[in-house]
Amino acid sequence: MFSLEYGETITNIDEYIDVKKLPQNAKDKVDVSEILVLPRKYSDEEYYYAQETIDFVKFCREHDDKHLIDILDNEDIMVRSLHSSDIWLPVIWISQNILLPLVTGLISSYIYDKIKGRGKETTTVDVTIQINDKKKGINKSIHYKGDAKTFKDTFDKIDINKLK
């Protein structure tokens, strides 16, 4: 069981940088990074990063040294810990829609690594991929919530050329 929702941009990067008064180098990251991990605004109007954020970024950097993968904040982040056995991944921003297969591959490898040893237990994954492709004018987000084991198959069926 899973749900896949397409929608508008989840995290407005400019707004977050303004609200948090982030320094110039945070703004620079938006220009140079290909994959950037973002917080999201919750119902209390505060921005928090998801539970797996730091580990996910470290994992991506260990497994892919060809792309610029970073986290928007430079300093310590606020992490929303849900303490369930589910995998809560952050909002993952990509600068071009062609990076979608790469990101889903990294997410899939991360999930596989996390659920190793869990036997027959069912694990749910929650992740949002935000695409802001300036060249193609794409501002979209894809939110997946569901079985960790079906994540890859579900994303493999997405035609990135139809993301407009």
Binding site: D44, Y48, I54, D55, V57, K58, F59, R61, E62, I71, D73, N74, E75, D76, I77, M78, V79, R80, S81, L82, H83, S84, S85, D86, K116, G117, R118, G119, K120, E121, T122, T124
Partner: protein
Amino acid sequence: MIGYFVNYSHSDVSSILASINTEKNLLLSGKYKDISCVDCSEQFSDLMREAENSNNERLANAIFVVNEYKRLFCLIGEYYHLLDLREYEKSWDMLQNCFDTLRFVSRFCKDLYDLPEIERNLKSYEELYPFKLFFSPEYIISKSHCSLCGASMQNISCPHRKGELYWGKLAVEIVDEIKELQAVSLVEHPDNKRLVAKDADDKRPPEEKFKLLDYFLDLRISKAAIYDKKIYSVRNEIYKGVGRNEMCPCGSGEKYKNCCEKGFSRIEISNVRQMNLFYFEC
């Protein structure tokens, strides 16, 4: 990872593997009280020194995993012993300790065929407890540090990932500051099943609260057994024709609908066999 340890040429390796075989034998023969759950680090210290001297991180990590694998059988032995004592509340926490260690070992040793057997055995016990809902807190972590290097785990400067092994040590996030406890939810699949949701006014004796487990233990099936089970509900003859709003015939003083209407659970067991455990050649 255990394969690397098994094939490593050192005199301590075969004695450690032989002690694990002994633990398994004790578990299967019902002598689990004899499994001494002592800190095994002494047995591994020579090997760990060798790993450090030869700059062999793989060996150091394998030692940690084998130590945990060995500890798993001690924990299972302690769990079975608590069942013998009918210490149901305590046994639940010990069962969760077994699962935590099992998950850790399974993560690093996917090829050991006895791990799914152990999981099946322990899961069968877990299903007999009345605990189905758990508390799960939601909070905002503002400060934490790495157990290995002490660096903040709230940014990417620390090189360690939680739950990974580095030089025979496990990287753990130590939370220093919680900015806010936002909620406590009732969930079915928490990270920690020790936070059990219980009725504070439930004054029933343990054998009543843990009726199904108590009934199962009365069947005197080997603790290390694997079996198929069917749980079904039965009702005593004295309840025939009792209206839902009538007082319960059991004498509890409650209405029948709030008391014995659901009947009581029984278990049918079939295809009983011993757990198939893996033995090392040593």
